[in-house]
C-alpha cells in the first residue's frame, strides 16, 4: 500500500489512465528515490508498449542471422547481465570488449555504457543491434523484417498508431520494457522500510559500506554515476581507455562509470572487463589498499582501506542484502513472444 501512493501521483502526472502496481511490471517510483532522468513524456509507457518491448527484447529476429536476442547477453536471473563470459559475445561467437552490465533502474541513469558515451535509453539499443560483435544487423534489415511480420505490424499499430514501423518505434518499444525494470524490493529496501531488521553481521557490513563505499556506490541506486578508477589497473590485452575515449581528455583515462551494486550477488563477473568472477575477490581487492594499481580516484586513495577477514565477510553479507529475488524471479519480466 505504501508505495501505491507515490506511484499514483506519478502516473496521474504522466496522464496515464490505468492503474498499475509493481507486479504489473510497469515502471513505478519507489518511495524516497530521486526523480528519474528518463523523460516519460517522449515515450509514455503503456501495458501494450511494455509487452511489445518485451517481445522484441526476447526475439533473435533483431540480429543478423536471427540467433542472438537482447536476452542472450542480458539474462533475467543474473539481473539482466551476461554470465559465464568476462566480456559478452554475440553473433558468429565474436567476443566483445566489455562485460554486459545488469539492466535495472535504468530510468534513473543519466547516461549509459561503462564510459557514459550513450546519452539516452531510447537511442541505446542501436548499439547492440548494429554492433558487429553483438547482433551485427542493420536498422534497414530489422525494419524490413518487422514490417514484413503481420503480428508485429499489428502490435506497433496498436501502440504507436503507425502503419509503418520506423526506427523510433522499435527503440521506444524496447525502452518501454527496459525502463520498467525497477528493482527496489531487496532485503536492504525492506530494512529501510522497517519491514524487517538486518542481522548483526549485515548491520556491521552496512556500517563499513557507508564509511568506505557509499561515496561512490551511493544509496539508494548504489552509484553516483560518476567516472572513477577503483585501482584495478588497465586490462593487460583489451585496450579500453574508458571515459577518455568519449571526452578526449587525459584526466578521464581509465575511468569508468561507477556501477550499481543492486543485485550484485547475481551480476557476476565483475568490472567493465569482467576480470573478477567472485564477489569475495572484489571485496578483497578493496580490503587491501596495497594491491591497488594506478590510477585510483582520490576518494579511495584517501581512505586507504584495510579490512580484516571478519570485516570482509560482514561487507559481503551486506552486499547480499541488495539481492532482490522478487525482481530476479518476476515472471512479468521473463521470456515472452507475441501470439
Amino acid at each position: 500500500m505504501k508505495y501505491l501512493i507515490p506511484l499514483w501521483l506519478l502516473l496521474s502526472a504522466l496522464l496515464v489512465s490505468w492503474e498499475v502496481s509493481p507486479e504489473d511490471g510497469l515502471f513505478y517510483q519507489p518511495d524516497g528515490w530521486p526523480k528519474p532522468s528518463y523523460n516519460f513524456e517522449t515515450n509514455p509507457i503503456s501495458h501494450e508498449g511494455f509487452l511489445l518491448g518485451k517481445a522484441l527484447f526476447y526475439d533473435p529476429l533483431l540480429s543478423k542471422d536471427s540467433t542472438v536476442s537482447c536476452a542472450s547477453c542480458h539474462l533475467q536471473y543474473t539481473a539482466f547481465a551476461h554470465v559465464d563470459h568476462p566480456t559478452s559475445h554475440g553473433v558468429d561467437s565474436r567476443v566483445g570488449k566489455r562485460n554486459a552490465p545488469g539492466l535495472m533502474n535504468l530510468a534513473w541513469y543519466p547516461y549509459f555504457h561503462w564510459d557514459g558515451g550513450v546519452l539516452g535509453l531510447n537511442g541505446q539499443a542501436i548499439n547492440p543491434i548494429t554492433h558487429p560483435d553483438e547482433m551485427g544487423s542493420t536498422l534497414e534489415d530489422v525494419l524490413k523484417k518487422l514490417n514484413r511480420n503481420p503480428t508485429y505490424r499489428k502490435a506497433f499499430q496498436n501502440v504507436f498508431k503507425t502503419d509503418e514501423i520506423k526506427t523510433q518505434h522499435i527503440l521506444k518499444a524496447l525502452a518501454q520494457f527496459t525502463v520498467s525494470l525497477v528493482s527496489a524490493n531487496s532485503k536492504y529496501d525492506q530494512m529501510k522500510r522497517k519491514e524487517l531488521a538486518f542481522s548483526d553481521q549485515e548491520q556491521r557490513g552496512y556500517t563499513l559500506f557507508l564509511r568506505h563505499c557509499n561515496q561512490c556506490h551511493t544509496e539508494p541506486l548504489f552509484t553516483n554515476f560518476k567516472f572513477k578508477s577503483n585501482g584495478i589497473g588497465p586490462h593487460p590485452t583489451l585496450k579500453d581507455e574508458g571515459r577518455s575515449a568519449i571526452t578526449g581528455k587525459e584526466k578521464d583515462a581509465l575511468t569508468f562509470r561507477v556501477p550499481t551494486l543492486r543485485n550484485v550477488e547475481h551480476s557476476f563477473p565483475y568490472m567493465h572487463d569482467g576480470r573478477y568472477g567472485k564477489l569475495k575477490e572484489v571485496i578483497h581487492h578493496y580490503a587491501t589498499a596495497s594491491m591497488w594499481k594506478l590510477p585510483v580516484s582520490s576518494e579511495l586513495k584517501k581512505k586507504n582501506i584495510s579490512l580484516n577477514s571478519d570485516e570482509e565477510k560482514a561487507l559481503l553479507s551486506f552486499l547480499k542484502t541488495l539481492t532482490d529475488k522478487a525482481f530476479l524471479l518476476n515472471s512479468t519480466f521473463g521470456y515472452f513472444s507475441l501470439k
Binding site: N39, T42, V118, G120, G123, I126, L143, G248
Partner: protein
C-alpha cells in the same frame, strides 16, 4: 456528386469550376512553393559532381566520391539532411528570397543529444553516432588515386563538446535561390594520404569541418 468523379462524368459547369480551381491553385500555391525553396548544388571544377565517377584531382591524380552526406539548415528549416545520392534532399525550405541568406552548419549540443530519433534525426540515415551519442555532421568517403597507389578514405566529422564544436552560422550568397558548393578546397584539405580515416570528434575533425564550411560562397 462524389469527389472521385472523373472529368468526363462531370457536367460542363462542374468541369469549368474544377478547371478554375486548378488554375487558381496554380497561381496561389505553386509559385509560393517554388519561392519557398533553396536549392543546393554541389560542384567540382564548375560542374555538378556525381558519385562513383573518377575525376581529375591535383595535377596528376584522380579522385572519386562514393558518399557525401551532411546537415545544413536555413532559418526556416534549422536541421536539414542532405544526401548527394538523393536529389529529393537537395532543396531546403526558405521563405524570403534574398541575395544572401544565413545558413546553419551542423547542429548544437541540444539537437545532438535530445534523443529525437525521427525525421532528419532518424539513425537510419547513417548519421547517428551510436556509441558516443550525437550526430555525424558530414560523412564523406571515396578513393584517391595517385600515380603509385590508391587510397580509400572515409571521414565522419562532428562533435559538440567544448572546444571542438562543429556548429556554425554563415551568410552565404545565392544565385536564383541556389547555393553553389564547390568542393575543390575541401577535398584538397582532406589529409587522405596520412590519415585516411577520421571517425571521432576532436581537433582534426573540427579543423576539417571548418574547411567544409568555408567552401560555401
Amino acid at each position: 456528386m462524389s469527389m472521385s468523379a472523373l472529368p468526363w462524368e462531370l457536367n460542363t459547369f462542374e468541369a469549368m469550376k474544377r478547371v478554375t480551381h486548378f488554375l487558381f491553385g496554380l497561381v496561389l500555391i505553386a509559385p509560393w512553393e517554388i519561392w519557398a525553396q533553396l536549392n543546393l548544388r554541389v560542384l567540382y571544377r564548375l560542374a555538378p559532381i556525381t558519385l562513383g565517377k573518377r575525376l581529375p584531382f591535383n595535377s596528376n591524380d584522380s579522385i572519386q566520391l562514393d558518399q557525401l552526406k551532411f546537415y545544413i539548415g536555413t532559418k526556416d528549416e534549422k536541421v536539414h539532411f542532405f544526401d548527394l545520392e538523393d536529389s529529393l534532399t537537395h532543396t531546403l525550405i526558405l521563405h524570403q528570397p534574398e541575395d544572401s541568406t544565413l545558413l546553419y552548419f551542423g547542429m548544437d549540443s541540444l539537437a545532438n543529444t535530445q534523443g529525437r530519433l525521427d525525421g532528419p534525426f532518424d539513425p537510419l540515415l547513417g548519421m547517428y553516432w551510436a556509441w558516443n551519442t550525437g550526430y555525424i555532421q558530414i560523412k564523406i568517403s571515396g578513393v584517391l588515386w595517385t600515380s603509385i597507389q590508391s587510397f580509400p578514405f572515409e571521414y565522419h566529422l562532428g562533435g559538440y563538446r567544448h572546444p571542438y564544436i562543429t556548429h556554425y552560422q554563415k551568410m552565404v550568397s545565392l544565385h536564383n535561390r541556389t547555393v553553389h558548393l564547390s568542393l575543390e578546397g575541401f577535398l584538397s584539405a582532406l589529409p587522405i594520404q596520412d590519415q585516411p580515416k577520421i571517425m571521432m570528434p576532436g581537433p582534426r575533425a573540427w579543423t576539417l569541418y571548418q574547411h567544409f564550411v568555408s567552401s560555401f560562397p
